[in-house]
């Protein structure tokens, strides 16, 4: 009898042990990342000016350290980096105070005064060294000269407990390691882009999980047309500083990877808004949109509101993102697309934090990508 009882318990105990093992293996942000260094250099090495970093995190960030790591890593990808003294001299001479974007005049001057082919603009959206550490960065490479264009853009949001492994052996508690991983991911992405001149599509994207809750797409949008898009900063109704800029940057990133859209460098749009003294009290008005259309070659203006953009520190918590966006079309001067999306990091997570997202950046990227599926369909 005793033997029988033990025997019947054996499968249960094996199952239990398996479950414990699996829970240890839970990858909360389980995107398999292959990091490759030392890409073959492209035919002509790009001379890149790495601009000082923009801090959108609202907290204290070691910006200089991150910048140096980016420079070292990008050099390995075959980029020539503009010397710091030349860059500083140019910034002082031109009295550049805003480094979150580049306008047409600055881009032209960069080309002819320093010889730089492109500038690298980096924004730090999250930096937390409270264990497990978290970081979110967005980088973009913008060409210089008379017509600045976004050549490449990518972002990364990482947490030390994204993939903890069995018995938490893969848990990262050192902020430097998470930072290093983030920098390597970005430089790998840039290297791959420079090698193939195309973005690799993420096949693991969970479109349905982050599908917008409400959306509208006007039939006047042509699916085969390539639209020039201007993304203006979102109206920030959240408690997080710079949430409007962060979500707008996310839209720029996801739109750039889409085939049907050509995104205008946000620095150009910012400069136009300042020059025309456009202040958006409650989102963009049709008069503001008309002014922007008249001074740019945008076919669509994407704007919106952000209600929540929450990250958390430590282990207990979940990110939260809630936004609405709209697109105004140039010729009809009408709203041709709207979307309403909200999610929490543990949405659809039932066991052992499987599938949990730990940074608002990662979740916002997924949500924006899903939202843009409704625009590009």
């Amino acid at each position: 009898m005793m033997f029988l009882t033990n025997f019947s318990c054996k499968p249960i105990s094996i199952l239990f042990a398996l479950l414990i093992c699996l829970s240890g293996c839970s990858a909360t942000n389980n995107q398999a990342i292959s990091v490759v260094d030392d890409h073959p250099a492209t035919e002509k090495k790009l001379l890149v000016a790495v601009l000082p970093l923009t801090n959108l995190s609202g907290t204290s960030v070691p910006l200089g350290d991150i910048r140096q790591r980016l420079i070292t890593s990008f050099k390995k990808q075959g980029l020539d980096i503009l010397a710091d003294n030349v860059l500083e001299g140019f910034i002082l001479k031109q009295r550049i105070r805003y480094v979150g974007g580049i306008d047409e005049i600055t881009a032209r001057d960069f080309k002819y005064e320093t010889g730089a082919d492109a500038v690298l603009i980096t924004s730090v959206e999250l930096y937390s060294d409270v264990p497990p550490p978290k970081i979110a960065l967005t980088c973009r490479l913008v060409s210089t000269g008379n017509r600045p264009e976004i050549l490449w853009i990518d972002g990364v949001g990482l947490a030390g407990d994204d993939s903890i492994g069995i018995l938490q052996l893969s848990l990262i508690e050192d902020p430097q390691k998470v930072l290093e991983k983030a920098v390597r991911q970005l430089s790998t992405s840039l290297g791959e882009y420079l090698a193939s001149k195309s973005y690799s599509m993420d096949s693991q994207r969970e479109i349905l999980k982050f599908w917008p809750k409400v959306f509208y797409r006007s039939p006047i949008l042509e699916p085969d047309w390539t639209y020039n898009v201007a993304v203006v900063p979102f109206f920030n109704l959240s408690e997080r500083r710079f949430a409007g800029e962060i979500i707008a940057l996310n839209f720029v990133k996801q739109l750039t990877t889409q085939k049907n859209f050509s995104v205008i460098e946000p620095g150009i749009i910012r400069n136009l808004l300042l020059r025309m003294r456009i202040i958006m009290d409650d989102g963009i008005s049709l008069a503001d949109a008309s002014a922007l259309f008249s001074k740019s070659d945008a076919d669509l203006i994407v704007a919106g509101k952000i209600f929540d953009y929450q990250d958390y520190q430590g282990t207990g918590g979940k990110p939260k993102v809630d936004f609405s966006a709209l697109a105004i079309e140039r010729y009809s001067r009408e709203v041709v697309w709207t979307v309403q999306s909200h999610n929490e990091g543990d949405h659809g997570v039932f066991f052992f934090d499987w599938g949990k997202l730990n940074t608002a950046h990662t979740m916002a990227s997924e949500m924006v990508a899903s939202a843009l599926e409704t625009l590009a369909e």
Binding site: K213, Y216, G283, S285, L286, V335, Q340
Partner: protein, 196 residues
């Protein structure tokens, strides 16, 4: 005979108990509306959703509900809803003192600026978590009205309450639905009564 009668009574008792239990499972959702029978709603092509009045403690409640309402209304494809930035411009240009409750004259001026056929005003009376003992759930209570611009009269009103603590929340402490989901449900209920 007596035994058979007892069995029948037992059946009725169980049925009544089940009905009572099912009724208790639901939340206290309510929906009331008025639909002007004289109004040709097909003539309304462009609508402005004014800022909602907020009677709750949640600071952003009115703005959140208004945004969901405007997007949901536009997503029906039946009418065009002007963007909120344009509504703000119209309010400023028309000099509306209280955008949540504009006068007929103000609505006329506003329509002249924004070229809308109707304006929708609204009030959010309850938004957020309600508690009863150890149970908690999210609840929303809102009312909206459509004012036709030409005649300046109210042609449609609706008010809805959605969410609250159900028997499941009491028994299992589920915590109810997320606030955003409750809001979308309430807005959909209200809009169903506009396009009936």
């Amino acid at each position: 005979m007596t035994r058979l009668g007892n069995i029948r009574n037992l059946d009725k008792f169980i049925l009544a108990l089940l009905l009572g239990f099912l009724a208790a499972c639901g939340t206290f959702d309510t929906l009331t509306y008025f639909h002007d029978p004289q109004m040709d709603f097909a003539a309304v092509r462009t609508i402005a959703v004014m800022p909602f009045e907020n009677l709750t403690r949640e600071q952003m409640a009115a703005e959140r509900v208004r945004d969901v309402f405007a997007n949901s209304l536009l997503s029906t494809g039946a009418v065009y809803v002007i963007p909120s930035g344009e509504v703000s411009r119209g309010i400023a240009r028309a000099g509306i003192v209280n955008p949540a409750g504009p006068s007929t004259e103000e609505i006329g001026k506003f329509a002249g600026v924004t070229k809308v056929d109707a304006v929708i005003t609204g009030t959010v009376t309850e938004y957020g978590e309600v508690r009863a003992g150890s149970a908690s759930a999210n609840v929303i209570s809102m009312s909206v009205q459509m004012i036709e611009v030409q005649a300046g009269r109210t042609v449609w009103t609706a008010s809805a309450t959605k969410g609250g603590i159900s028997i499941w929340d009491r028994l299992f402490g589920a915590g109810g639905q997320p606030m955003n989901d409750v809001t979308i449900e309430a807005v959909n209920d209200v809009l169903d009564k506009l396009f009936m």
